[in-house]
Symmetry: C2
Subunit: 332 residues, 2 copies
């Protein structure tokens, strides 16, 4: 069995979960860990991620030296959602000659908002003979790669509609806070204006779908609205009275020739029931696919990121997106 030597870059909740998953798998060896949090630096990563054993790998903040010393097959990068924000890190990883799988949302289809950066990333990756992928459950899978994969058995697709309803009550506290739980509508609008409520990645998903289907988008529009509690909702972390915000509803729409051909509708709110993911491919023979209960975000994101490593390592150098890789599967 091939064993992939990986470095975990970023030890927030998602990075920690990927590290735990890698530690459990036979085909991965965690050879390095990078974070800048003084509470984590210098400690064994096994301890940081809550294992009952040390892994013999110390969390360090000097990324460049960690990569030079460990020469991993792939870096798992989880530090931020925006490409500008993570650019220096990506550049460092690529210049160190390492393949990278990142959960940076904008990296799932960077050409959507940053065509110049996407081109520069591709050039840089080829120059250093490495492969760069952004992935996760959303963007990266359930609202883009899965609809594309589903379209493979369609004779004709005239429009793509995806609905994702997530029950935030079962998620961690920061996520419940992030969706505006307990806020007034006015407070919610301020959070939206400040950019803190928004789920990042709908635009990338719309562009990824369009690219996969060979559609030329002439417009993209996005809106973010509050979901209002109709009754009192109590979770482990929040109590929301009726009339207050219990979550967020976000719409991403892609237009081709003036028609709304792609609609991604994401609702994430407390006590959402039923939760589900649903894909509808419109056409002469409409096709529907449902994931009852919906994919649990953190678990699915960490899984697809780690599962993508072998495909990224095998792939020719350059910037790739999920539509370019052979089927990513769960392997031990």
């Amino acid at each position: 069995m091939t064993v992939y030597r990986v470095v975990q870059f970023g030890l927030g909740p998602i990075g920690q979960e990927i590290a735990r998953l890698a530690a459990r798998r036979e085909s991965y060896e965690l050879v390095g860990a990078v974070d800048i949090d003084p509470g984590k630096v210098g400690r064994d990563i096994g301890e940081v991620i809550g294992l009952d054993r040390a892994l013999g790998v110390t969390v360090r903040s000097d990324a460049e030296r960690v990569l030079a010393e460990t020469k991993p097959d792939c870096v798992l990068h989880c530090t931020g959602s925006y490409l500008h924000q993570v650019w220096p890190q990506l550049e460092l990883i690529i210049r160190s000659g390492c393949n990278v799988v990142s959960t940076c949302e904008e990296l799932s289809f960077p050409a959507a908002q940053h065509p110049d950066l996407a081109q520069e990333l591709d050039r840089l990756a080829r120059e250093h003979a490495v492969t760069v992928l952004g992935t996760g459950v959303n963007p990266g899978y359930v609202m883009d790669a899965l609809p594309l994969f589903f379209s493979g058995i369609a004779q004709s697709v005239t429009a793509v509609r995806v609905q994702r309803v997530q029950n935030a009550s079962t998620r961690r506290r920061p996520l419940q806070a992030k969706i505006g739980s307990g806020k007034t509508v006015e407070e919610f609008r301020e959070l939206v204006a400040a950019g803190t409520v928004r789920h990042v990645g709908l635009q990338e998903s719309v562009y990824l779908i369009a690219a996969g289907l060979g559609w030329e988008l002439d417009d993209y529009r996005e809106s973010t609205e509050p979901v209002i509690a109709e009754r009192r909702i109590t979770t482990q972390y929040f109590t929301v009275e009726p009339g207050y915000v219990c979550g967020v509803e976000q719409l991403g729409r892609g237009y081709v020739g003036g028609e709304e051909k792609i609609t991604l509708h994401l609702r994430m709110y407390l006590d959402a029931d039923p939760a589900y993911d649903k894909i509808l491919l419109e056409g002469p023979t409409p096709l529907e696919l449902v994931i009852p209960g919906g994919l649990q975000g953190d678990r699915a994101t960490t899984a697809i990121a780690l599962n993508a490593v072998p495909r990224v390592v095998e792939h020719a150098p350059g910037l790739v997106t999920m539509k370019d890789l052979p089927i990513v599967t769960a392997r031990a």
Copy 2:
């Protein structure tokens, strides 16, 4: 837009449907058609496939000359389910230097039953610098590639169970006959013994899943049983009295370390309601995916075969299976 020049090899119901789809698509040009049926040879393919216009392509039986004269980007091959039976045709196509997408069921994962032939096919394909793929809705998609693609967001998969329930009442007459409609149980058993009832491809799907998940199968078992009508069933073609056969139920089981890790359960019978395709990935976090109504076999098979052409043309030479290709999408 890239236009793919294709030859349709075999003009049974599936081959005709692929040709109709190719004729409708902008990105395909039908440059040749091969069949041995004297009722089709010499006629314009547009007429043979029921279009109201001629396509300027005559159906011919001399395959070798058709391929030499047209030099297509890819051949769409639809003549039989068994590898031994179609081997001379595949050899001819490969030696003519043509890529091929075939709906031959055993070709979807030929190593399952014919490891020697699979190796020889791969060698031959590389020697002639062409790519060879077997695909279809089943085997090729809903009971193998789709479960594999779904596993990409799983942290751990301990078993794969797929259920496919097809309503045969909506299908063509030969299919209703093939599943034993109106037969007694004894007659059905004789048809099973003669090999005429069996759906070909469950074994290939089980092996494809195992290969994609990195599982080593130590046993494969298959069973075929009749579905008995509980009330009178009337379709366009058959009337089945209670107690008589109205369809078939087939189970394919793959064992790893003595455990049944893969179960494919296919039921195809008259008036099946509800029809659906359902994938269950077992593990610490079980994952379920449902296609309500189920995929319509002929439409889906023809779609995935034609949709796969660009991926096959782009791919490095050799024998490939659906797990090796980047996402196959529906394109105009």
